[in-house]
Amino acid sequence: MELEEFERDNSQNRLLSSPVPEICRTEDCCLGIDEAGRGPVLGPMVYGICYCPVARKKDLQDLKVADSKTLSEAERERLFEKLNSTSDYIGWALHILSPNIISTSMQQRAKYNLNALSHDTAIGLIQFALDAGVQLKEVFLDTVGPAEKYQDKLKKIFPELDVTVRPKADSLFPVVSAASICAKVARDRVVKEWKFVEDLGDPDAEYGSGYPNDPKTKDWLSRHLDPVFGYPQFVRFSWSTTQTILGNKAAPVSWGDEDDDSGGKSSTPSVLSFFSAPKDASQPQSHRFFQERNLKPLLEF
């Protein structure tokens, strides 16, 4: 797993993948999708896919892959190495979503929520496998949002695939368990060795799991708050945990596009106002040239 490629610029997303096993180009394959790090307030969210020929499902099961949450870190590492070295019939790919991209996507003017982001990432990975030449037939994944709706959406995009969206897919289908192991191992490694793009003199790595209710995470967040910048990009600004802390302890920041704060209704003028004389008609208006450039006579310094 060449995580250095992501670490070189962790403000951006990165796709990493194993070579495609030759057999997966010629035989019908099944593919599992799972994610790691959806809930945490720190670090990236990692989407993983793992695939193998349908005929080799049993062999994959014999590797004793299981839902990554039921395994210890050491077991996950060992299983990942096993999957990675079984390159004759197992392939994988990972999409690492930078916390910076998660923050800026969720907070952009045209809001992009986490479910949409997750769906698009999963769709992107299926497409990646197809483009790489994997002869895909079956896709298994856990749901994000209502399962039926998600399944319909995927079937519409990939009508030639047999898509199964199932809650707890990571414990039901070995190929999804394998994907969850790849994703979790990548997320853990990246978080453990997070390379801060900021120049903060190596902040301590005592941030725990990154889940908002982890006391270590809470403690780290309270110790590393900057009144102006808030946090390094490692922290997801779009999480309510972060917003609450920033709202209480950091300097308030107002952006020009937040007029929704005033309650929406008041910003729309009454229709009657169009028929009344403008309030400041007596005041000389400055020329359009100045108005457009936001230029005003300097009367006070």
Binding site: M106, E198, D199, D226, V228, S238, A251, R293, L295, L298
Partner: protein, 173 residues
């Protein structure tokens, strides 16, 4: 040397207020160092100590598309400057989890950017206000929220004013 022309005539226009991370910024024409309060009865005067200019260092400047309600120093070198990336569409960074896209903008020729500091606030309105030059800048990075900077940005359009002002105040031959 009491120069009040800067404010009394209507030729001097205020540039959009920058939110340069807690520092006060203004563009000043070299030579005008004092400014009377036009139209007010108070005789107070804004002075800039010209001696402080020689000791002022040149510093990178960032103009953010938001207002940070705080006065004081900001750790720009720690949090902001190292995170700026040169991407295909220009400079890119994020602030408080929002994408900023930026470009380097030069201060109009014949002008110079200065960051002023008022060490002591006057007690009354009659008292003069004294500023010292903290740092200077010849260019700054203009940051837009999500949209790449363009020639249609209000800021860029406003920077044409010094040129026009000079032209309309030039002696008619």
């Amino acid at each position: 040397m009491r120069v009040a022309q800067c404010c009394q005539s209507r030729t001097c226009h205020e540039l959009p207020k920058p939110a340069c991370c807690g520092t006060e910024t203004s563009c000043t024409r070299p030579g005008i160092w004092e400014c009377g309060m036009a139209g007010s009865l108070a005789s107070s005067c804004v002075r800039v100590d010209p001696r402080s200019l020689s000791g002022a260092v040149s510093e990178p400047m960032h103009l953010l598309p938001c207002q940070i309600q705080r006065e004081g120093a900001a750790n720009v070198k720690g949090y902001f400057a190292p995170a700026v990336k040169d991407r295909e569409g220009g400079k890119e960074v994020s602030f408080r989890g929002r994408t900023l896209k930026g470009q380097e903008v030069s201060v109009p020729s014949g002008y110079m950017g200065v960051v002023l500091r008022e060490d002591q606030k006057p007690c009354s309105e009659e008292e003069d206000r004294l500023f010292t030059v903290k740092s200077t800048f010849r260019s700054f990075t203009q940051w837009n929220l999500e949209t790449p900077p363009s020639a249609d940005d209000v800021l860029i359009m406003s920077l044409i004013w010094p040129k026009i002002a000079a032209a309309i105040h030039a002696p008619v031959e």
